[in-house]
């Protein structure tokens, strides 16, 4: 009825206070064994049922238990969320119900600091104008408060009377879009009392947000459960599997096909044998099944499938899981990846990706909060051309100024400028006072009184830092009301009437505030990016040149800069301006924007420059070293940030992502390079192409790409460009993507995954990184300050970016080596064990007679050989952790997949073929025409098998812990002990059919011929392994020797020392680089509010000023000889 008045898309109808019939979106968990993984492995009958059933049952039990455990955990967390309490209006009064019992159409009450349970239409709140503030950290990672405002109609009508009564009577109908995943858009109408009211995003509280600074808010549930925007947008959970996993699965399928094919061939052989040979042997002819060779062959096919079944490495899957879990535990346990400050260890949340940590080729990192601490410090300022403070002195070394005269000082100001304080206190210089008044007024910060202290809730950390600095220096922003701002200037309360806020947008890159000061004058305070502000100054502005110089020097030190300016506005200008502004408010959206733009532009002109601020966004500890190390390890690092290009580029230089002489390629030039047919060479046609194409190779290695969000969208859209971009990026040093949305971050990952074979790892800390984290092969969440969405969706969580080096270079590298060698060896040992049956088949009429005793088959994979190789996979360290970190080059084989690729598999299979031939034919030679029977042969070949496998294990293991040694001996001994046990008389008498090898080992082990045969066969079968081993030592000799000697008694401290070099200083030359690259990326300039800062922020967190000794010359010198050339660049110039 009402519907047809509106857009046809608005089909979601919500009736207030009317319990509807919408299905509830409760999540359900399923117990589901992951059969898919075993698709390749059918349950097959056995030689004796236990021979193959034991491993199969073990596999299924272990996997089932593991999945059950994860499922229970998930169910528990689901029910925890489902049972959170919420107040819901139940005819006249509010009562508390669990979240799962909430329905669309309910009116709910949310108290301060409560999470919003569903997507709500804000009806009213306890604040003026029904404003309410929400924190959206879980949705977009931004920690600033956003305000939402109820419709004035609902505000007026619902807050006038006692709220329960009026809310209960509320019977509006909301028409809106069907549930969707667009977090930032909402379209709908509220029809109430015969009137339609347009609803937009400002009227909606999303699930996942938290109510702040607002006592109580009332809302109407629009979308619940799985329909909420956040759940709609969090995408499907992808089951991640690794390269090794996939190749292994392929291999198992291949092996399976091989088993079938071989069985078929053997069956054909058997048919021929039955027809040609067996027919004439009186003892055998009667045994041909039904007297029909073909039917006999058919049965033999299945017999061979069973006999060759051990080829299929079933036990591998259990071991694989166990190893993965232990490797993950090692990550969890690692004290060196634990952040002492927050007592926050690393966590492997996904336990099946370990070896992939050793193969990462692309690292995609978020910037804010991941590379940086997202803790901004006011370090310097330039007022009237004079610079105060010195950012070249690190934060730790900066002396604290005596600010005891100021009761509001937080004591966290990291700036040393006593002369500035003097000027301020003496009020000698009006321009200085004006500067700080501007800082104290021109922002959107919300002050909050809490326990006597003044807290600032800022929409961006930059603003918080600026207002905080003004407060510390005596210009205390005290309170904000709808139309006035109170500032305590050196103890004197001054009220400014707020006339207009010219808000920040990323196009304007500035914000202004128009106030009437207590004296009655009209003033416009403006702050913004230097380029924007400087072009709006009045002519003949003093100190312009010196301020520009200061800005440049700020940029050199990698500070974020903002220019501050003021304008005295004539009364008549204001009158006419405000009139136009009021008119504009009623205009249609598109038109209004243009008018406002012009209007704001008119007001923000004729400015008088006050000065500039410099804020340090400090890198996390160890970031430059980590990035340098990872780059040396061959990783391509992409930084994806929502920040401005300038900031990103600066951080790039600062974090060693870009070298001082790195050339930036971006904007139009990049586009041209990509458009050209061959991005390799046609760059010469571009403007600056001369130097660029002369030395293409080296040029590329020294080039970084800078891509902005819109450009990126363009490249992703355009067919063919994506591949070129990835190809180009592969040759370049690193890539910076700026101004990208969360969706684009994921697009970049998808692009890389599509166009390169390398493993991608995404690291981020905010909810805006979730997409990227989920899309990448490996997602890492930074959990340092506060766990959030990123960690929830990540495969690994770290407290600090720097732990990445240990995660990748140590744990990843080890895992990769351990697991690949483990898999290869495991398959090798099962295959050379099982292939013997085929060779034996040639001498027993292809009759599928097994070469081994049943018990040996059952024990071989599980007991005799699996423990030592498993321990290998637990403990092996080809080089120590310290050496891995010191020689990042050792990581390179991983991304190239050098250890586990079709070639290594082929080599392994060739070796297996050789071993199995030797294992059969040496005993064959000995047993030919001898009185020793089949059973003795079986024991001899088993023994040879054990000798061979153990010899190869001896060669494989390079890191002998006590466990390795002991269990190898035990496993070796077990063969003899278990053989004796299963072949002893008592068991035979219990079950003659199961223990028919009675007495064989007793006699065989007493026969020197058996021993000599087994020894020769075992050693000969292991010769290729020995050859490869010696060959490797000879070839890699010098290298490993170097690494090993490094690993020796050298100072282990080195890494941590290097890590602690303070990152506060810039290598010289960056500035010129930055300014010369203006085309692509302008020099760093200030970041006004509103760009995403995906980091929860605690205003009262102590700055990270603790003991951070810088490396003095001696320390570096001491270390340099041992790190050689490799690390010198990392230490710095």
């Amino acid at each position: 009825m009402v519907k047809q008045h509106f857009s046809p898309q608005l089909t979601w109808e919500v009736r207030a206070n009317c319990r509807p019939r919408y299905a509830r979106g409760r999540r359900r968990s399923f117990l589901c064994f992951r059969w898919g993984r075993y698709a390749a492995i059918p349950a097959i009958a056995s030689l004796r049922w236990y021979t193959n059933a034991i491993p199969l049952i073990l596999v299924l039990t272990v996997r089932g238990l593991k999945d059950l455990a994860t499922d229970l955990a998930r169910r528990k967390s689901d029910s925890q969320i489902n049972s959170r309490a919420s107040d819901v209006l139940d005819s006249k009064s509010f009562c508390t119900v669990q979240w799962k019992d909430l329905c669309v159409g309910d009116v709910v009450r949310i108290h301060k600091d409560q999470p919003v349970p569903a997507d709500l239409l804000l009806l009213c709140s306890s604040e003026e104008y029904s404003l309410c503030y929400v924190e959206t950290a879980d949705i977009d990672g931004e920690t600033n408060l956003k305000y939402k405002q109820a419709l004035s109609i609902t505000h007026n009508e619902l807050t006038s009377e006692p709220s329960e009564k009026s809310l209960a009577d509320f019977d509006g109908v909301v028409w809106c879009e069907r549930p969707n995943n667009r977090l930032y858009a909402f379209r709908g109408h509220l029809r109430w009392r015969g009137e339609d009211h347009v609803l937009n995003n400002d009227h909606v509280l999303l699930r996942g947000t938290v109510l702040r600074n607002t006592l109580v808010a009332y809302g109407l549930m629009i979308y619940a459960g799985a329909d909420t925007k956040i759940l709609r947008s969090c995408g499907k959970l992808r089951v991640k599997s690794t390269h090794v996993d996939r190749l292994l699965n392929k291999m198992v399928i291949g092996i399976f096909a091989f088993v079938l094919l071989t069985s078929l061939l053997m069956a054909v052989g058997h048919g021929a044998f039955e027809g040609q040979v067996s027919r004439f042997v009186p003892a055998l002819s009667a045994l041909t099944v039904n007297g029909d060779p073909v039917y006999s062959a058919f049965l033999t096919f299945w017999s061979y499938v069973i006999v060759l079944n051990p080829l299929i490495p079933m036990a591998l899957y259990i071991s694989f899981d166990v190893i993965h879990v232990l490797h993950s535990l090692f990550i969890n346990w690692d004290v060196e990846m634990r952040w002492e400050k927050k007592d926050s260890p690393a966590r492997a949340r996904n336990t099946s990706l370990n070896e992939q940590l050793g193969q990462v080729g692309h690292l995609l990192s978020d910037k804010t909060g991941t590379l940086t601490q997202n803790h901004l410090l006011f370090r310097q300022c330039c007022i009237a051309g004079r610079v105060y403070g010195d950012a070249s002195i690190s934060v730790e070394e900066t002396q604290q100024m005596d600010l005891s005269w100021n009761p509001f000082a937080s004591g966290q100001l990291s700036m040393w400028a006593p002369e500035l304080v003097q000027l301020l206190r003496a009020r000698q210089c009006p321009i200085v006072s004006e500067f700080f008044t501007a800082l104290a007024l021109c922002h959107t910060v919300m002050p909050e009184q809490s326990k006597g202290a003044l807290l600032y809730k800022a929409s961006s950390p930059d603003e918080e830092a600026l207002v905080g600095a003004a407060r510390d220096l005596g210009w205390v922003f005290h309170s904000r009301r709808r139309d006035n701002l109170t500032v305590l200037e050196l103890g004197v309360t001054r009220e400014y009437q707020l006339l207009a806020t010219l808000e920040f947008t990323s196009q304007r890159r500035r914000m202004s505030i128009l106030v009437r000061d207590p004296e009655g004058g009209l003033k416009l305070y403006c702050k913004g990016a230097d380029m924007v502000v400087l072009e709006r100054l009045q002519a003949g502005c003093p100190c312009l040149e010196s301020t520009e110089r200061a800005l440049e020097s700020f940029a050199q030190t990698c500070l974020r800069t903002l220019c501050v300016a003021v304008r005295c506005v004539p009364e008549e200008l204001w009158d006419c301006w405000s009139e136009v502004l009021t008119d504009a408010a009623t205009m249609a959206t598109g038109e209004r924007d243009a008018v406002l733009e012009a209007l704001y532009g008119a007001m923000e002109s004729q400015l008088l420059l006050l000065g500039a601020t410099a804020i340090e966004d400090r890198l996390q500890e160890g970031v430059p070293e980590t990035i340098a190390l990872l780059r040396e390890a061959g990783l391509k690092i992409w930084v994806l940030t929502g920040d401005k290009t300038e900031t990103a580029v600066n951080i790039g230089y600062f974090s060693k992502l870009l070298d001082p002489d790195t050339r930036l390629l971006g904007g139009q030039e990049l586009r041209e390079v990509l458009r050209s047919a061959d991005p390799g060479y046609s760059a010469s046609s571009s403007r600056q192409g001369d130097a660029w194409c002369v030395n293409m190779k080296t040029a590329r290695a020294k080039t970084a790409l800078v891509i902005s969000g819109p450009e990126l969208a363009e490249f992703v859209q355009e067919p063919g460009t994506g591949a070129k971009l990835i190809g180009l990026a592969a040759q370049c040093q690193s890539v910076l993507c700026c101004r990208v949305t969360p969706g684009q971050k994921a697009d970049v990952v998808t692009l890389i995954r599509k166009h390169s074979r390398s493993i991608t790892m995404a690291i981020g800390d905010g909810a805006n990184d979730v997409n990227m984290i989920k899309t990448a092969h490996i997602g890492v969440g930074i959990a340092g300050v506060e766990g959030g969405q990123a960690v929830q969706n990540a495969d690994f969580s770290l407290a600090q970016f720097r732990f990445l080096q240990r995660l990748l270079l140590v744990h990843g590298r080890w895992s990769y080596r351990r697991i690949t060698f483990f898999v290869l060896f495991f398959i090798h040992k099962t295959c050379n064990f099982a292939l013997v049956n085929i060779w034996f088949g040639f001498f027993n009429g292809f009759s599928a007679q097994s070469m081994y005793e049943n018990w040996f088959i059952a024990m071989y994979t599980s007991l005799y050989t699996s423990i030592p190789i498993q321990l290998y996979a637990f403990f092996e360290q080809d080089v120590s952790a310290e050496s891995s970190l010191r020689s990042p080059g050792l990581y390179r084989p991983g991304p190239l997949d050098r250890l586990f690729n079709p070639l290594t598999i082929a080599a392994m299979l060739a070796q297996t073929l050789f071993s199995s031939l030797v294992l059969f034919f040496i005993p064959y030679g000995v047993f030919q025409d001898s009185p020793l029977g089949y059973q003795t042969l079986a024991v001899t070949v088993s023994m040879a098998d054990i000798f061979c496998v153990d010899a190869e294990l001896l060669l494989l293991t390079r890191h002998w812990t006590a466990f390795n040694a002991v269990f190898l001996c035990i496993a070796f001994g077990f063969f003899f002990i278990v053989s004796r046990i299963t072949q002893q008389p008592r068991l035979f008498q219990l079950a003659p059919a199961d223990y028919f090898f009675v007495g064989v080992s007793e006699n065989a082990f007493a026969d020197p011929l058996v021993w000599l045969t087994a020894l020769l066969a075992g050693v000969t079968a292991a010769l290729p392994a020995l050859f490869v081993f010696v060959f490797n030592v000879l070839l890699s000799g010098p290298d490993t020797h170097r690494v090993h000697s490094l690993a020796g008694p050298r100072p282990v401290e080195l890494r941590s020392k290097v890590r602690r070099i303070d990152s506060g200083r810039r290598p010289s030359g960056v500035a010129s680089r930055v300014s010369s690259s203006k085309g692509a990326a302008a020099p760093a300039s200030g970041g006004p509010p509103h760009h995403p800062h995906p980091h929860p922020h605690h205003p009262h967190r102590l700055p990270l000023l603790e003991d951070k000794p810088t490396v003095d010359g001696a320390g570096v010198e001491l270390s340099v000889p041992f790190i050689g050339r490799r690390l010198l660049p990392a230490i710095g110039k």
């Binding site: 004439f280 042997v281 045969t1013 010098p1038």
Partner: protein, 368 residues
């Protein structure tokens, strides 16, 4: 051989900056245990491998294997072995007639005498084997075709043998004892050895006991209801179809060698590894004063019962002295020598590679 570095990493202290407040126990820290295991710092021995330590490996294997091979080869060569093929394929062969005429169904025995000459005397104990070739005793369905419970004296199995024995499970409605194809195809040639000297023909004493494994004789094979009165014990069973005598008449004179525990039977039941095999038949015990088998003329008297002509099989009798390594086995010695030599060869190849590489490597490394 190998230089090694003992790389025991102590439970390192410098990470655990703050003294553990585990004693207080009040605050549960997420701090992981700083144990060697959890920190992957278990003390470990990491051999330092250089060309110097690994290259000798091949030489060592060669050095060990070649002497072993030579020893085995010499031992094997010292073993005297004499082989007589009495299959009777060639018309000239004494057993030609028997071989031509004989089949499983024949009722009467065919005897043939094969003369031979030992050039050298055989000292010490001499083992007498019979050898068969092309006889697939390791065929799966053949190997399976037995009932170990029945052979172990189980009375139930005696009356109802396992299905594995089919088609030699029952005969004329009676259960076959011993059932199965292996038992049915028991080698039943009788071999006698005569020494011909000075015109006299003296039988060589052949021991028919002590040829089976002790475990087989005493554990694996047992007569149902003890060794007494086997006729009664096997009542209600049928003899295997190819057999001429029932199982309790395999050696009627010696109750300890009769029925299932007849050693010829036991030896046959231990199936061979490969299609060409030999089985111990008799032992000729050494004499105190004279060689066990003096050089000279001998005659092998075969009662030819076992047909092999249909599958081109060969029947042989082998007389062999024995050593610690059993009978003659030249293969193993040669194999050892071969593998040892290959190792030596590889060692030399690697040494050359090493020298070449080392030169290149050091020349490339030093300028840097």
């Amino acid at each position: 051989m190998m230089a090694s570095g003992y790389n025991a990493k102590e439970e390192d202290g410098h990470h655990s900056g703050a003294p553990g407040n585990g004693g207080a126990g009040a605050v549960k820290s997420k701090k992981p245990d700083n144990t060697a295991f959890k920190q992957q710092r278990l003390p470990a021995w990491q051999p330092i491998l250089t060309a110097g330590t690994v290259l000798p490996a091949f030489f060592v294997i060669g050095l060990i294997f070649i002497p072993i091979g030579i020893g085995l080869f010499v031992t094997s060569n010292n073993i005297k072995e004499f082989e007589i093929d009495y299959t009777g394929i060639e018309a000239s062969s004494p057993c030609y007639n028997c071989a031509q005429n004989y089949s499983w169904n024949s009722t009467s025995s065919c005897t043939c005498k094969v003369p031979f000459t030992l050039e050298q005397p055989f000292e010490s104990n001499v083992f007498m084997y019979y050898g068969l070739s092309n006889f697939y005793q390791n065929h799966r369905r053949y190997v399976k075709s037995r009932d170990d419970s029945q052979l172990n004296g189980d009375l139930t199995s005696l009356k109802s043998p396992s299905k594995e024995c089919d088609p030699y499970r029952t005969s004329d409605g009676l259960p076959i004892a011993p059932c199965g194809a292996i038992a049915n195809s028991l080698f039943n040639d009788t071999l006698e050895l005569y020494h011909l000297s000075n015109g006299t023909r003296t039988a060589v004493v052949l021991m028919k006991k002590g040829i089976a494994w002790w475990t087989d004789k005493h554990v694996k094979f047992r007569n149902p209801g003890g060794n007494d009165n086997l006729t009664l014990a096997f009542q209600g069973t049928s003899k295997p179809v190819n057999w001429k005598t029932p199982v309790f008449e395999l050696d009627p004179n010696d109750p300890d060698n009769n029925g299932f525990i007849n050693e010829d039977f036991i030896v046959w039941m231990r199936t061979a590894a490969l299609p060409t095999f030999r089985k111990l038949y008799r032992i000729i015990q050494k004499k105190v004063d004279a060689p066990t088998l003096a050089s000279g003329k001998y005659e092998l008297e075969v009662s030819y019962n076992y047909p092999v002509r249909s599958f081109d099989g060969r029947k042989r009798v082998i007389l062999s002295t024995i050593s610690w390594m059993g009978g003659k086995n030249p293969f193993l010695g040669i194999a050892y020598i071969t593998v040892g030599s290959v190792c030596f060869f590889l060692a030399v190849v690697l040494l050359i590679i090493h020298h070449k590489y080392d030169n290149r490597c050091s020349s490339a490394d030093i300028p840097n």
